[in-house]
């Protein structure tokens, strides 16, 4: 590679400048020289193109080297043509009167020395401002924090089953009446609403009673680390928020009274997700109050252990399905991820002979039987770990038998649609191994 005449020109003119000026700090002089040169060159270029916006343009953001049309803006051709073709990929700028400088100046976007960004948000703020309200003026949500966002993390936990320690969730007895009340107060909460019966029962069992005997006891203190979630059983509590973000000493240190929490109400739910500073102080408003408390580690372990166990169960079930024998562990894990649990009382027809087959089922608990039209006795029995209807994944043939639950059953199910979305057509998976022989033996629902 030889230097182009252009680059020689640049060096020549630098030499001339140096000779003329005889600078004391040579490097600084060269740096300044090139900065100036670049600025000049770019601004000349800007004025030569028909850029829509005078102080900002994509012209310093040329496209790509190459001959294809450019998906990132601009048209095709070689690089010099692209540069000449004007704005290619430009950074949007809404407001021309703000402090954004041109990217062609050395300080593009940055004020020397200081952060120009607002205070970081994140953490546990006090919840002012309506969600996603949009300011008409510039399209930005009002009160939108523009600062860097802090990452959050809970303690890293490993599933009990994987670590071999025998953890079981704590259990604290409650009366039926108490349980009903608790269920009602947490049922609408997004952290609980998706739990299955088992998880729900374990979480309710783990809530521990906490007596707050006197008035004026701080249950949580604004700014402190958060570890527990509380449901009010008896009495009432007052919520205070100090605008400084934490409880301050002296009178008025509590801040403003913002709410009262009555029996059935709850507070401190963020602590169930990760350790963030408390957003408010909560204090008992009378003597003789009672709370139910749940800590983060317990809550997360309950959810994690039950999910982990169910996932492994599903994966081991799936391993047993010959149709899916050629799936990799990763693919089985994806299917396990998408399986949905359904419960049926005894005597329910789960699939009906003659219907179009759309989903397959793994029997998680209980028993079921297959019947064919015209026969009195079941043609097959299913127990935990058995599966049926998997041929629906393969073709649209009608169900060859009905399956009826004998006891209450819990099944995990996945539709053909979901299966194909995740892994593509079953036919291509089938091609990996032979599955033509023995189908009849494996599944009585298969019709030749």
């Amino acid at each position: 590679m030889s230097h182009s005449s252009e680059s020689l020109d640049v060096i020549e003119s630098l030499k001339k400048e140096i000779l003329e000026t005889n600078p004391t700090d040579l490097l600084q002089f060269c740096a300044n020289y090139f900065t100036r040169l670049l600025e000049l060159e770019r601004s000349q270029f800007l004025s030569s193109t028909k850029s829509q916006k005078p102080n900002m343009s994509g012209s310093t953001f040329p496209g790509r080297f190459g001959t294809h049309s450019n998906p990132f803006g601009g048209d095709g051709g070689n690089i010099s043509q692209q540069v000449a073709s004007g704005p290619i990929s430009k950074v949007m700028e809404e407001d021309e009167s703000d402090t954004i400088t041109s990217p062609t100046t050395p300080n593009f976007g940055f004020k020397a020395g200081g952060s120009t960004f607002g205070p970081p948000f994140g953490g546990d703020a006090s919840g002012e401002g309506p969600p996603s309200s949009f300011k008409a003026a510039d399209g930005f949500p009002s009160q939108y924090g523009m600062g860097r966002r802090t990452s959050v993390s809970a303690e890293s936990l490993n599933p009990t089953a994987a670590s071999n320690d025998n953890w079981s969730p704590p259990y604290h007895h409650k009366t039926g009446e108490q349980l009903e009340r608790l269920k009602k107060s947490i049922s609408g909460n997004f952290l609980f609403s998706h739990l299955d019966d088992e998880q729900s029962a374990q979480v309710l069992g783990a809530l521990v009673e906490k007596a707050i005997p006197a008035k004026g006891i701080k249950v949580i203190t604004q700014g402190d680390e958060g570890d527990y979630f509380y449901v009010v059983e008896k009495g009432s509590f007052v919520v205070y928020v100090n605008k400084s973000g934490s409880l301050q000493p002296g009178p008025g240190g509590l801040g403003d009274e913002v709410a009262t929490i009555e029996p059935g109400g709850s507070f401190g739910e963020l602590a169930l997700m990760y350790n963030a500073p408390r957003a408010a102080t909560v204090m008992s408003a009378e003597a003789g109050c009672t709370l139910w408390a749940l800590d983060r580690i317990t809550f997360r372990r309950i959810l994690m252990d039950s999910t982990f166990q169910r996932r492994r169960l599903y994966e081991s079930f799936l391993e047993e399905v010959p149709l899916l024998a050629s799936l990799t562990k990763y693919e089985r894990s994806k299917i396990a991820d998408a399986l949905e649990t359904q419960k049926f009382p005894a005597g329910t027809t789960i699939i009906k002979e003659g219907d179009a087959g759309e989903a397959f089922f793994l029997l998680e608990s209980g028993e079921a039987e297959a019947y064919k039209n015209g026969t009195q006795n079941p043609v097959k029995q299913y127990t935990k770990g058995d599966y049926f209807g998997e041929l629906a994944l393969l073709n649209d043939a009608p169900r060859a038998a009905s399956v009826v639950s004998k006891t209450e059953v819990k099944v995990a199910t996945l539709g053909k649609d979901g299966f194909q979305r995740l892994l593509g057509p079953v036919e291509s998976i089938m091609r990996r191994t032979k599955y033509d022989e023995g189908v009849e033996e494996i599944d009585p629902l298969h019709k030749k």
């Binding site: 496209g63 200081g114 969600p131 990452s151 993390s153 936990l157 995740l422």
Partner: protein
């Protein structure tokens, strides 16, 4: 070419002598000093022959394998701390140069991430920092991921020496520009798609903290993904499968620790359902939205309200700015609560993402080999120029000490550094 070969041979020699000291007895002070010098030589020149290798060769390449190894000879005294580039809850990243460098290495600069053991333990991030070190070591050499050159430790800190990305955070450019146009957004999104394809499908790694703050620009304006503090190896990588038939991968495909950044958390993370690499595709949807509008789709000053929106509300697009139907579609497909329908996670994986109309016309091979010109060329005046980074206050004095008691309990957990 000749030069390249010479340098790479030299690096190999240095690396061999530095890292393959095997079962030798404790080296003498003179040997230690020599080793330190060799390590300094290695880190000063690692980038001389750095060029993108095909994705399948990144982790296999012998030279890349030398990157990210733990150093036994280096200490923080071998570096001159120039200024802070960023801070986190338990880490601080410094711009550094070699202390007493060779004449030709005077302008060599690096980013040194310093983690205080006490803070790491207190914040229960011991597992996370170990994952970060080992995953960064494995992926060193990918064109769009920060390169871990080496790591070392001393009594109270852990150190990761990384390549310096002088362009600063995409976050800063985004906030300054308020929003990016679709071409700019597409450029960054495309490079991120290649990162996720590599991490998920080749390495089996979920990144878990995608956001503009963690995307840096290199001198040419290409993305470098940084901060692997939440990255986690899951049991589904090509690399693991390639160990052969008998290899049983004991790791499960999902993980449970809630981590990330509130606005970017996927619904399954919030609801503790066990999460997979699918969380990164969700976050990419949020990211493209934020590129195009200047703010994330789910936002509130109270994080609980953000989480309620994430699990229950569809992404809503403002009327201003106008967003193309292709962009809206890819955002909606990424931000799909049902993981069996989420783009990136469904069959075809990243290949399907690349085919989406939003990326129409993109030549992916050219993206990978950095043939597209970056939409923002950082204004860099000299190698160690840090004007693209914000300034940060000094470290607080009076930090907690790493006591002997803590050391007895935890030191073994940090042995890989």
């Amino acid at each position: 070419m000749q030069v390249h070969r010479r340098i790479s041979m030299k690096i190999r020699e240095v690396a061999d002598s530095v890292f393959h000291h095997g079962s030798q007895s404790t080296p003498s002070p003179a040997e230690m000093a020599q080793q330190t010098e060799q390590e300094k030589e290695f880190i000063a020149h690692f980038s001389d022959v750095q060029r993108p290798l095909p994705p399948g060769e990144v982790a296999q390449n012998p030279r890349n394998k030398e990157l990210g190894k733990s150093s036994k000879g280096l200490s923080v005294r071998d570096f001159e701390l120039v200024r802070t580039l960023g801070t986190g809850t338990f880490a601080r990243v410094w711009l550094v140069r070699l202390a007493s460098p060779a004449e030709e290495d005077r302008d060599k600069v690096f980013a040194l991430k310093v983690l205080r053991k006490v803070e790491v333990i207190k914040l229960k991030q011991v597992d996370h920092v170990n994952h970060e070190r080992s995953i960064l070591a494995d992926v060193a050499g990918h064109p769009f991921i920060t390169t871990l050159i080496t790591s070392f430790s001393d009594h109270d800190s852990l150190y990761m020496l990384l390549d310096y990305c002088p362009g600063g955070e995409v976050f800063s450019y985004l906030r300054k520009a308020k929003r990016f146009d679709e071409n700019t957004s597409r450029f960054y999104a495309a490079e991120i798609v290649l990162i996720l394809e590599f991490l998920h499908e080749r390495e089996g790694v979920a990144y878990r903290d995608l956001k503009p703050e963690n995307l840096l620009l290199d001198a040419e304006g290409h993305i470098k993904l940084v901060d692997f503090g939440f990255a986690k190896r899951l049991g589904n990588s090509e690399r693991r499968r390639s160990f052969g038939r008998g290899f049983v991968d004991k790791k499960s495909g999902e993980t449970y620790t809630l981590c990330g950044t509130p606005e970017y958390l996927a619904p399954e993370v919030i609801q503790s359902k066990g999460h997979t690499t699918a969380v990164d595709w969700w976050a990419l949807g949020i990211l493209i939205y934020e590129f195009l509008t200047g703010y994330p789709p789910f936002w509130n000053s109270n994080p609980i309200e953000i989480y309620k929106q994430i699990v229950s509300k569809p992404v809503h697009f403002p009327t201003e700015p106008a967003i193309s139907p292709e962009a809206k579609d890819i955002i909606r497909q990424f931000c799909t609560v049902d993981r069996s329908k989420r783009l990136g996670n469904i069959s075809g994986g990243a290949a399907r993402v690349k085919e989406h109309p939003f990326f129409k016309g993109v030549v992916w091979e050219d993206v990978y080999y950095r043939k597209y010109r970056g939409p923002i060329i950082p204004p860099i005046r000299y190698p160690g120029d840090a004007q693209c980074f914000d300034t940060y206050p000094d470290e607080k004095v009076g930090r907690e000490v790493y006591s002997d008691e803590l050391k007895r309990k935890w030191e073994d957990h940090f042995k890989d550094f």
